[in-house]
């Protein structure tokens, strides 16, 4: 062992001792009621059938806080024989069925994930890098999305409203009808953008209205940033 190695080991030991011996001082008591309220709100990130005014989905999502800043090149949309003339092609947002869901284990999440093409299955982590999903090919994506627009949420904060084209609405209805019959985790609809699963609400009943919402943005600017980042 060289002197340099010995010095390094000694420094390592000191850092370990400093950190393991770190005294955080007075630890504030957890506000469990507050945590539960926040968790309930997080669980309400939802896709809503506004036409039917039915909250079709309740579930779990938490992406807003960790939305990535960098931009991923937009994935090519699915091949569509006759895209609607009003469609703004190529939003890099995809709706995919969830095949499996597991805590991140031996396979690490990539730090800069790449968006998979819509036609292919994908493996992606949740935005908080805690869960890893395998996803079926996108049933709705790219040119099936007419517009993305920010809107204030009823419960505070902002959401991004996803207006689907007529073709997209049909595909979304088919997808959600199918998902609603499945058992967890295959009853989940993933909102996949920038190589990550932003949310994975489960589908309780078919969503027929052609409008979905991605909730949980703290400010108008955050919702707009998201739209910019996934726009072609």
């Amino acid at each position: 062992m060289t002197d340099v190695d010995r010095d390094t080991d000694r420094d390592t030991d000191r850092v370990r001792a400093l950190l393991t011996g770190f005294d955080p001082g007075q630890v504030p008591a957890p506000d469990v009621a507050r945590i539960v309220a926040l968790g309930e709100r997080g669980a309400r990130w939802r896709v809503v059938d506004r036409a039917l005014a039915v909250a079709a989905v309740a579930a779990v999502v938490v992406a807003g806080v960790l939305l990535v800043v960098h931009r991923v090149s937009p994935a090519p949309g699915p091949v569509s024989p006759s895209p609607s003339p009003t469609a703004k092609a190529g939003y890099a947002v995809q709706f995919r069925p969830v095949l499996t869901e597991a805590p991140v284990g031996a396979t690490p999440c990539p730090t800069e994930p790449v968006q998979s093409p819509a036609a292919q299955p994908a493996t992606a982590c949740s935005a908080d890098a805690a869960l890893v999903y395998t996803l079926g090919p996108a049933a709705v994506s790219g040119d099936a999305i007419a517009t993305l627009r920010p809107e204030a949420s009823a419960g505070g904060g902002f959401e991004v409203v996803v207006d689907l084209t007529p073709t997209g609405s049909t595909a979304f209805a088919t997808l959600t009808t199918q998902l609603a019959t499945q058992q967890a985790p295959q009853n989940q609809l993933s909102i996949y953008a920038r190589g990550r699963v932003l949310s994975s609400p489960y589908v309780a009943s078919p969503i027929l209205g052609g409008v979905a919402q991605i909730g949980g943005f703290p400010t108008l600017a955050a919702a707009q940033d998201f739209i910019t980042a996934v726009s072609p």
């Binding site: 390592t12 393991t20 539960v36 926040l38 309930e40 806080v65 985790p185 703290p218 955050a222």
Partner: protein
């Protein structure tokens, strides 16, 4: 969902999560926000993760939070409604000095360096385990650890800790 198991989980794990969050963020209020956010996410997924490793899930959220601007977006959930605790409650003066110096020294590290040293030394994960958790290569964990230790060693705040002779 509320059979008390989540509440017990919070009581049991909140102190260590707070400690980790304080090491990661260097600020008591921010740490409290962060832990609250992490626990809220655990709650939102409780039925699915309770039988797996909710503590590891929560830790992962706390350690990863500084990726991509958690701080920038804080306030999203209107956190911290209560009056924040005073940071330095006067317990033993020496301890406060040491706590502050550790926190200050850690602030000089990059977020990635902090994540690595916290997982390596506070949670005692192996280099391979740290690499897996952070999505890094083992070699990167090694070099990052080395760089972080170098920075801590050079930190004026920790001069005393490093100049002591080893016992």
């Amino acid at each position: 969902m509320t059979d008390g198991s989540f509440e017990r989980f919070v009581q049991e794990h909140h102190p260590s999560l707070f400690r980790t969050a304080l090491l990661m963020t260097g600020d008591s209020d921010t740490a409290q926000d962060l832990v609250q956010t992490a626990l809220a996410r655990v709650y939102a997924r409780w039925s699915r993760i309770r039988d797996e490793e909710p503590a590891a899930y929560a830790r992962r959220i706390v350690v990863n939070a500084h990726r991509d601007g958690w701080r920038r977006n804080r306030g999203r959930e209107h956190l911290v409604p209560e009056t924040p605790e005073p940071v330095a409650a006067p317990d033993a003066t020496g301890r406060i000095v040491e706590r502050d110096s550790v926190v200050r020294a850690l602030r000089a590290l990059t977020a990635r360096e902090r994540r690595v040293v916290v997982l390596r030394f506070v949670y005692d994960l192996s280099e391979a385990g740290t690499a897996a958790e952070l999505g890094m290569r083992v070699g990167t964990v090694k070099s990052t650890t080395h760089r972080a230790i170098g920075k801590l060693r050079a930190s004026a705040d920790l001069t005393a800790a490093f100049s002591e002779e080893t016992r």
